[in-house]
């Protein structure tokens, strides 16, 4: 396992607030989306937010027991905790309906959207997209504003170099320089994020499979595609 991964897990175990906030930022939206999917219309957005917070709270008490060397993905483990949080919520609701838990609740998982809480490929893809989004966010934070805007307009928005140059009032060679600078920064941040949040060899290989280790043109294309998938699944809003 990568050193960054172990140090991050150590930070989580040491109750480092910044590490927990980062975890919340990266995986919170995916977690909420999955809970919403399982809820299948039975839980509202506010409840989902509460449940995702409960999940992280439960994670904080059980992080000591997480052993990455056993080959279990962190995302899978996180999902199992979320599933239990949702089960508890539904049991509590059932008990309330029956009259404050006078009778034991029957654990019925039919409400989980028909998938029974199993980890599906879509969830894993979302987790990967969340990592890429986190890398983009970090690159945006560490890059020069102008450079990242050029990258955003050129790659993420799919505008032509001439158009971007015209809008920003600079020459096309300047656009190319900004573009290569942002791309280099993004590659670096992506490596960092993948190394931090990947606990198994399959997770480490995901970036390469998605075309993020190829040349510049393919890299940009892959980033744009992943980013559009990630941003098109906005959290449900009320």
């Amino acid at each position: 396992m990568h050193q960054l991964t172990t140090s991050f897990v150590r930070r989580l175990r040491d109750r480092d607030d910044a590490a927990w906030f980062e975890l919340w930022q990266v995986f919170g939206p995916v977690l909420r989306g999955q809970l919403m999917k399982w809820g299948n219309g039975r839980v509202g957005f506010e409840t989902v937010r509460d449940l995702s917070q409960q999940t992280l709270a439960a994670l904080s008490t059980s992080i000591e027991r997480f052993d990455p060397t056993r080959g279990v993905r962190f995302s899978t483990w996180l999902l199992a905790i979320a599933r239990h949080a949702l089960s508890d919520e539904m049991d509590r609701r059932m008990a309330l309906k029956r009259g404050s838990g006078k009778r034991p609740a029957h654990l019925n998982e039919d409400w989980m959207g028909g998938i029974g809480g199993a980890v599906d490929a879509a969830y894993e893809r979302k987790i990967f997209e969340a990592k890429v989004a986190a890398a983009i966010r970090r690159a945006e934070s560490s890059s020069d504003f102008m450079s990242f805007e050029v990258y955003r307009m050129r790659v993420l928005d799919g505008r032509s170099g001439r158009e971007v140059a015209d809008q920003l009032g600079v020459s096309q060679p300047t656009i190319s320089r900004h573009l290569s600078r942002s791309r280099a920064e993004l590659r670096s941040r992506l490596t960092e994020i993948i190394a931090t949040w990947s606990f198994t060899p399959e997770e480490m290989a995901e970036a390469e499979l998605a075309g993020l280790s190829s040349d510049d043109a393919l890299f940009d294309e892959a980033i744009a595609e992943i980013w559009h998938c990630a941003s098109s699944t906005d959290e449900p809003l009320t």
Partner: protein, 648 residues
């Protein structure tokens, strides 16, 4: 010349006519069509929504009927609470449908009904009425936020200040109502700043309660205002976009005032922005914090509108004075602008996707405001300059980011004064920021003085009373301006109608004028009618072009003979004459010159070309051509042709 005049008159008439028809369509037909469309739209909406609501009502009846046995069982088993909840749900269903049915009829077509920020006359069940507030009479309440306080609407009563505004908001924390003490202490800390900004009129407390009084700003909050603007689902219209930029500009102006006075709002979000005809107003000062506060930074705020960096710094345990709170407000202002133009929350922060088309410059401003802490606009004034540029442009969508003042380095509004550096001893006690006001006595005899409390460059913020008075005056002025605008629009419509009628009249007149004049001018100079041809002698050959050939030849021959001429109708000579002289296209001396050789050949004195008059087919014109010239005469018109009746 005459023809040119005619053409010009026709062109002029057409232009005036086209303009008149345009004005007529614009001012007469368009409103009529629009009215018809509205009526159809209204009827359609009423029918559709009424049918939908009636179906919902039917469904509710079915559900109620099915639920009744369960309800009875609950009652029999003594499950009063569950039965009460069920009955309450049924009641809610019918109340909702009833409200919708009433709303369908009373609401204008195509307009959603945004809830207004108006006081409710009733209090929430279980809430205290708020008790008495000396000098104020409570007339209603507003929805409470998350602070645990009750928001009362009050009007001045006996003992109120003389220049008190018409209405105020009283935010009251009551320990008996469960208001958290921590929140009360936090808000009381913000009062100093709020008073300095003129947001608070007065505050007081007793053993149980703590309250403060603010001017009431009527209107609806931004979330409610934006609903109808985004109702189409295709983004904002150009006018709505300008309105939104104007509100954002108002927000930034207010924030600039906060920052210049040494405070930051910390809770900028759509629910805290009230819009009305006078613009956008930032309310709720529950989290207003001095920029140089020695307190630890907290994570208070609202998700999506709170800078993640604020959370990071708060988790790090940073002090407020160690960060630039103004930048967090700028982030929130950018998030609010995103919310306004997109109609949804910025779920991905600065990387949130833009689905609507508003032009690159608007996107640039949002992204610059929500950029990383160190890379966003340094001051609210910088963002304000960009927004002012956008709001003043004729086509916002056409503005390039490169044109914005923050990119070009153009002049920007005055930046706030430099704030004292963090943790620098001696700075906190200076007047104008955190110390007592500096009074300068202007007249020792009368004791009058003035306050030298203003920091150079800081906005001269009036007190709360003045602000409320100014707001009321602004409202009245806005209403008067609106009335004046409507009056002018009415006048313009009336003027347009009159112009249309006059134009139409001009069109008709010019048409008849053109037709009349054209017919007069298009007619060649008609010769005077003569009883007989002037006397002469010699042989005259008849060249007959008249449609009533025989009658015309007889009449002309008679007239010639009466005048001493010797007419002859020799077909060979006539044919020879026609071969040499084009009788229909020549006139005057030219005709005479061409006819002279023919006349000499056949030893004729003259030729008489007989034609029908141009304006009268029965008229007889005679062109008498001699070797030295030609003259045209008009003989009396021929008798009408006899009607030949068939015999059985």
């Amino acid at each position: 010349m005459a023809r040119i005049f005619i053409i010009m008159a026709i062109v002029l008439g057409c232009l005036i006519g086209a303009a008149a028809i345009g004005v007529l369509l614009r001012h007469l037909l368009a409103p009529i069509l629009s009215g018809i469309l509205r009526v159809v739209q209204f009827i359609g909406r009423v029918v559709i929504e009424l049918v939908a609501d009636l179906m919902t009502a039917c469904w509710n009846v079915i559900v109620t009927v099915l639920t009744l046995p369960i309800l009875l069982i609950m009652l029999l088993l003594g499950r009063w609470e569950a039965a009460g909840r069920t009955m309450s749900r049924i009641g809610d269903r019918f109340r909702t449908v009833g409200r919708r049915v009433v709303g369908v009829v009373t609401r204008p077509a195509g307009v959603a009904s945004p809830p207004r920020r108006t006081p409710k006359r009733t209090q929430k069940k279980g809430r205290r009425s708020g008790g008495a507030f000396p000098g104020w009479r409570v007339v209603g309440s507003l929805e409470s936020g998350g602070s645990g306080a009750v928001m009362h609407i009050a009007e001045p009563a006996e003992g109120a200040p003389a220049d008190a505004p018409d209405r105020v908001v009283i935010k009251c924390f009551d320990l008996k109502d469960g208001s958290p003490l921590g929140q009360m202490i936090r808000e009381s800390r913000a009062l100093d700043g709020a008073k300095r900004l003129g947001l608070v009129i007065e505050h007081d407390h007793d053993e149980q309660r703590f309250w403060y009084i603010m001017p009431f700003i009527p209107g609806s909050h931004l979330g409610e205002t934006l609903g109808p603007l985004h109702a189409t689902g295709h983004g904002l219209s150009p006018q709505s976009l300008l309105d939104v930029l104007g509100w954002s500009r108002d927000l930034l102006t207010t924030l600039h005032g906060y920052h210049a006075s040494g405070f930051w709002h910390k809770d900028v979000k759509p629910e805290n922005i009230i819009t009305n005809e006078s613009g956008a107003h930032l309310v709720d000062l529950g989290l207003v914090t001095p920029l140089q506060s020695a307190m630890t930074l907290t994570t208070h705020g609202t998700e999506y509108f709170r800078d993640p960096e604020l959370v990071r710094q708060a988790l790090r345990g940073a002090k407020v004075s160690e960060v630039d709170g103004a930048r967090f407000d700028i982030y929130s202002a950018g998030a609010v602008l995103y919310y306004m133009v997109e109609g949804t929350f910025p779920a991905h922060g600065n990387l949130s996707h833009f689905d609507r088309e508003h032009g690159d410059a608007v996107r640039w401003v949002v992204r610059r405001a929500m950029a990383d802490y160190n890379q966003r606009y340094a001051t609210a004034a910088d963002m304000l300059a960009d927004l002012q540029y956008l709001a003043s442009s004729t086509d916002v969508r056409a503005v390039r980011p490169a044109d914005l003042p923050s990119m070009t380095g153009a002049a920007v509004p005055p930046s706030p004064p430099p704030r004292p550096a963090a943790n620098v001893p001696g700075q906190h006690g200076q007047h104008g920021q955190h110390g007592r006001p500096n009074l300068e006595v202007t007249d020792w005899w009368s004791g009058s003085y003035r306050v030298n409390d203003a920091v150079a460059g800081a906005p001269n913020l009036p007190d709360a009373f003045t602000q409320a008075r100014q707001a009321r005056q602004a409202r009245l002025a806005a209403r008067a301006a609106e009335r004046q605008r409507r009056r002018e629009a009415r006048r313009a419509r009336m003027g347009g109608f009159v112009a249309a009628v006059v134009g139409f009249a001009v069109l008709v007149t010019s048409y008849f004028l053109v037709v009349g004049v054209g017919s007069d001018w298009s007619t060649p100079d008609a010769p005077p009618v003569v009883a007989s041809i002037p006397p002469g002698y010699g042989n005259v050959v008849l060249v007959n072009d008249h449609p009533r050939r025989l009658e015309a030849a007889t009449a002309v021959s008679a007239a010639l003979r009466d005048s001493g001429w010797a007419p002859t109708a020799d077909a060979a000579i006539e044919a020879s004459f026609r071969r040499t002289v084009p009788t229909t296209s020549l006139d005057g001396a030219e005709l005479a010159a061409m006819a002279a050789p023919v006349l000499a050949t056949h030893e004729l004195t003259a030729a008489a070309i007989i034609q029908a008059s141009a304006d009268d087919p029965d008229g007889v014109d005679v062109v008498l051509v001699r070797g030295d010239g030609s003259e045209r005469y008009r003989l009396p018109e021929l008798d009408a042709e006899p009607v030949i009746q068939s015999t059985p």
